[in-house]
């Protein structure tokens, strides 16, 4: 509970009040609100300054724009459906049944969540490309036919690949509720003679449905916001989504206004769904978890556990093991498509990426720098705003809260459009420098730090600061010496989450980068465009390796719960 401080204390917090608060508040407004306002403004004014909604109407009038809109929806809905089909049974299996390898499945689902989906997409080209994809070749060889069974360069291919990387949202949401849920209702059903399957379907499922829906919403939004997968798999066959169409619109001659207008539906849909999740599901979900520490009842599946386990293993194989293995294989191969013999194996691709390719060296440095700075600044700003919101009674707190969580509702490409629009001219001419990327990364990921800090502060007993104040510490000192150390874990986990997601950021970077400011994902995309698939695989393996090391390290520091928030 925020409280009023005695008048005498005010002088002592001057440094916070007059320096840190204003800086943080101005930064937040410039970083988040200003670009968004500019984007909305850009979408309703022509370059000549005429007001109107024609750019929005174009979405329905121009066939190509409407097709992109429709494709996005189709992909989003089907990918979400597949996520439910995989995430829910898997969550139930690892949380409530006696199948073996539960931790293995949980961990690999985590890995799938931190895997950049566009790397998965590239790996799936090696597997399901109609001409040289390994699966297709294998089928032709085994059955001596000419048929092509799978074509990853299709809308189905995009849906499949996206589903493999967004199902963790459903899985993690569902599993965390199942893990913590009071199982007395299920026990009652069992005692009354319901079968295991009937209990699962009639009792457990309805109880976790809010969590499932909330996971499904996140999956849908992620599927809608992804740029890399449809770019890699769709554009070459003329399949565009909202995100890739926006990218296309920024080609020469760039159509900024139309791009901005196309980004607006993404923001609006995301906003509405998140609002729904927050207002409706958020409340319902918490009623269910009683907070009692009873162990959930484990269902003994008997022989049925083998097909269930098989299903789980299939999903993690398709999302992680097979694609990773394929990337590794290609990264060690001289030429994609050459037979896999010892003489075709080489470390040359790694050597090239690490020592001879300036773009990759530069982009490694840039990405490290940006991820480090973005994480640090975002955590710092978030901390100040959280203190402002939770420990003062100043005006505008709920407004600030809204601004801080707003970026959740802005897909990367839309964010990039906003930034491009806002920072290409005075007063903030950042375009063409690395700072526009930094600003975009901070703005995109600040909600992660904010949520993590905010949860932390809420849990800290206010009396601790109070007692420090009573024995004479200033308000600022009390916060610095009491609150911040107690928040350490929240701060670290926020920092790491931002670092990981910024390190491999593609959707915003692809529109905002410039010469010498290339980041890793841009380099991977460039290698893809140029057809250097072997070098690309080597770089991907390095990126995946670094990401996994970070995740593993942070789980050490912060505990297993880390990164279970989205």
């Amino acid at each position: 509970m925020p409280r009023e401080y005695p008048k005498g204390g005010l002088k002592r917090i001057d440094i916070v009040k007059w320096v840190l608060f204003p800086i943080a508040l101005i930064a937040v407004v410039i970083l988040i609100l200003f670009p968004l306002i500019m984007m909305f403004q850009g979408s309703v004014f022509t370059p000549e300054g005429k007001f109107g909604f024609f750019y929005f109407l174009n979405i329905f009038k121009q066939k190509v724009l409407f097709k992109a809109f429709r494709n996005s929806m189709v992909i989003g809905v089907w990918a979400t459906f597949l996520s439910l089909l995989t995430g829910v049974p898997m969550a139930w299996a690892v949380s409530r049944t006696d199948i073996p390898l539960k931790n293995f499945i949980r961990n690999l689902t985590m890995v799938s969540m931190v895997t950049p989906p566009f790397l998965g997409a590239i790996a799936w080209i090696f597997l399901l490309g109609p001409g040289a994809g390994k699966f297709n070749v294998l089928i032709r060889e085994v059955f001596h036919t000419d048929i092509t069974l799978f074509n990853v360069f299709s809308i189905e291919g995009i849906i499949f690949v996206i589903a493999m990387y967004v199902y963790p949202f459903v899985f993690i949401n569902t599993a965390s509720v199942l893990d913590n849920m009071d199982s007395s209702l299920e026990d009652a059903a069992n005692m009354l003679g319901a079968s295991k399957w009937k209990t699962a379907l009639k009792i457990t499922l309805p109880l976790v449905s809010p969590a499932i829906i909330s996971g499904a919403i996140l999956s849908f939004l992620e599927a809608l916001a992804l740029f890399g997968v449809p770019a890699v798999l769709g554009m070459s066959r003329g399949i565009f989504t909202l995100t890739t169409q926006i990218y296309q619109l920024f080609h020469f001659p760039p159509q900024y206004q139309q791009g901005a207008a196309l980004a607006v539906p993404l923001v609006v849909i995301t906003g509405i769904l998140l609002m729904f999740q927050y207002l409706y599901l958020g409340k319902k979900q918490f009623v269910l978890i009683s907070g009692k520490t009873t162990q959930p009842t484990i269902v003994k599946l008997g022989k049925a556990k083998w097909p269930v386990l098989g299903y789980c293993l299939l999903v993690v194989s398709l999302s992680v093991m097979i694609p990773y293995f394929m990337l590794l294989l290609i990264s060690l191969n001289k030429v994609w498509g050459a037979p896999l013999t010892l003489s075709n194996l080489t470390l040359h691709n790694y050597e090239f990426i690490l020592f001879h390719y300036r773009l990759s060296q530069k982009s490694f440095l840039n990405s490290f720098f940006l991820a480090f700075m973005a994480a640090t600044i975002a955590v710092f700003l978030a901390l100040i705003v959280v203190i402002y919101n939770k420990r003062t009674q100043n005006v505008g707190r709920s407004f600030l809260h809204l601004v801080m969580v707003l970026p959740f509702a802005i897909p990367g490409v839309a964010m990039a459009v906003a930034f491009l629009w806002a920072y290409i001219r005075p007063p903030f001419m950042l375009y063409g420098t690395i700072w526009i990327l930094l600003a975009a990364y901070i703005a995109r990921r600040i909600p992660l730090a904010y949520m993590s800090c905010s949860d932390g502060v809420t849990q800290i007993n206010f009396e601790l600061e109070e007692s420090a104040r009573i024995i004479g510490a200033s308000w600022f000192k009390a916060i610095l010496n009491i609150t911040v150390p107690l928040l350490k874990l929240s701060l670290i986990s926020g920092w790491i989450l931002i670092f990981i997601s910024s390190f491999r950021e593609i959707s915003a970077s692809i529109l905002l980068y410039s010469t010498n400011n290339e980041v890793i994902a841009v380099t991977i995309f460039t290698l893809f465009e140029e057809g250097e698939f072997e070098a690309l695989s080597a770089l991907s393996i390095l990126v995946l390796f670094i990401t996994l090391v970070f995740v593993a390290g942070s789980r050490r520091i912060v505990g297993k719960g880390f990164a279970q928030v989205s």
Binding site: V64, I125, G129, P130, G131, A132, G133, T148, F153, M235, S236, R237, G238, F240, F250, H251, F252, P253, P254, V335, W336, G337, R358, L359, I424, R425, M429, Y431, G432, S514, T515, N516, T526, F528, E529, E530, G531, E532, F533
Partner: protein, 339 residues
């Protein structure tokens, strides 16, 4: 005799003075360039060639150009965006499309500069006023995977690509990204009109952004037939022993000169001039030829491919292309279901 000696001495002195004078001239350009210390080079050449040129230039003059490398379309988009924002960052730009350079020269956006060896370049490879000059040129050929398609069955002409038996096997680049593709399309349009591309669309071509990607997909067997490949993208593979070969279409091969020029009021004007001199030098042109481009110089022979004089060419109407490039891209995208 004395007179002869005197004249001889005078001549020698003159020569020495001349040499020193010209050295002093280059010295100053080199010094000024070094003082600028930096050079930004936008190009659509493949990264390896661009980097080799940049590194060699760096070794010679102590300035290693910063290279931005992408397809012609992306380079142009960047240049135009910078023009629009009045914030041009490049010194030297090179793409595979003459049209924008002609436009920029007309609008006074690029600098007039005749590099040292200007006279050594083919006439149709340069602007007579010295606004730009093509440091290399590409030809567009048909390329195929020899493991998947037998040489005698491979298409012989652009028209052969329309045969339904190639359905799902063809790839090509797109005219937005690749300057050479735009030129190639312009030439084929003159022969066959848009009906050609409507028919080609039925063969469901895979449309990649760069010719490098087409090559990778062709060698792997993913898309064994490339409807229009750059000579320099396919020939290195062929001579390295990869399963691929080239067809020079009977209707004629398209030629895309790749002009380079200096930005007006470039941030590093002297370094830019020095770099233009360098890429026009015999040394640089030989590097370019070794990468299977056609060099722009008369005195550097092409490598591993028939010399320009031995090929039948289709020439694009540049004035038409300048006016209609955007329309061409839009139409192509529409026909290929991309728009």
């Amino acid at each position: 005799m004395k007179l002869l000696k005197k004249t001889g001495c005078l001549l020698v002195v003159c020569f020495i003075v001349f040499v020193f004078a010209s050295m002093a001239h280059t010295e100053t350009i080199v010094d000024k360039a070094k003082a600028e210390g930096k050079l930004i080079f936008y190009t659509s050449m493949d990264s390896k060639t661009a980097n080799t040129l940049a590194e060699n230039f760096g070794k010679k003059y102590g300035i290693t150009p910063e290279v931005f490398r992408s397809g012609t379309g992306k380079v142009l988009a960047k240049v135009e965006a910078e023009f629009a924002a009045h914030k041009s960052m490049w010194d030297v730009c090179q793409v595979s499309d003459m049209a924008p350079f002609i436009e920029w020269a007309r609008k006074g956006l690029i600098e007039q500069y005749k590099p040292k060896d200007f006279d050594k370049f083919f006439d149709y490879m340069k602007d007579k006023d010295g606004y730009w000059l093509a440091v290399k040129s590409n030809t567009s050929v048909i390329a195929f995977n020899t493991n998947k398609i037998k040489k005698e069955e491979a298409p012989k002409s652009w028209k052969d690509l329309l045969n339904p038996k190639w359905k799902g096997m063809i790839s090509m680049s797109n005219p937005y990204y690749a300057g050479t593709t735009a030129v190639n399309i312009a030439c084929i349009l003159e022969l066959y009109g848009w009906d050609y591309y409507k028919a080609l669309a039925k063969n469901q071509p895979f449309i990649a952004d760069s010719h490098g990607a087409l090559q990778t997909m062709m060698i792997s067997g993913e898309r064994p037939l490339i409807a229009e490949q750059n000579n320099y993208s396919v020939l290195p593979g062929k001579y390295k022993g990869q399963p691929c070969d080239v067809v020079y279409a009977v209707e004629g091969v398209t030629l895309s000169p790749g002009p380079a020029g200096i930005l007006k009021k470039a941030p590093h004007p002297n370094a830019a001039k020095l770099f233009m001199d360098y890429i026009c030098s015999k040394e640089a042109q030989e590097i370019i030829a070794a990468k299977y481009y056609y060099p722009g110089r008369v005195d550097v022979p092409a490598k591993g491919q028939p010399s320009l004089g031995k090929l039948k060419f289709l020439y694009p109407k540049i004035s038409w292309l300048i006016e209609n490039k955007q329309k061409l891209i839009d139409n192509f995208d529409k026909i290929m279901g991309r728009k």
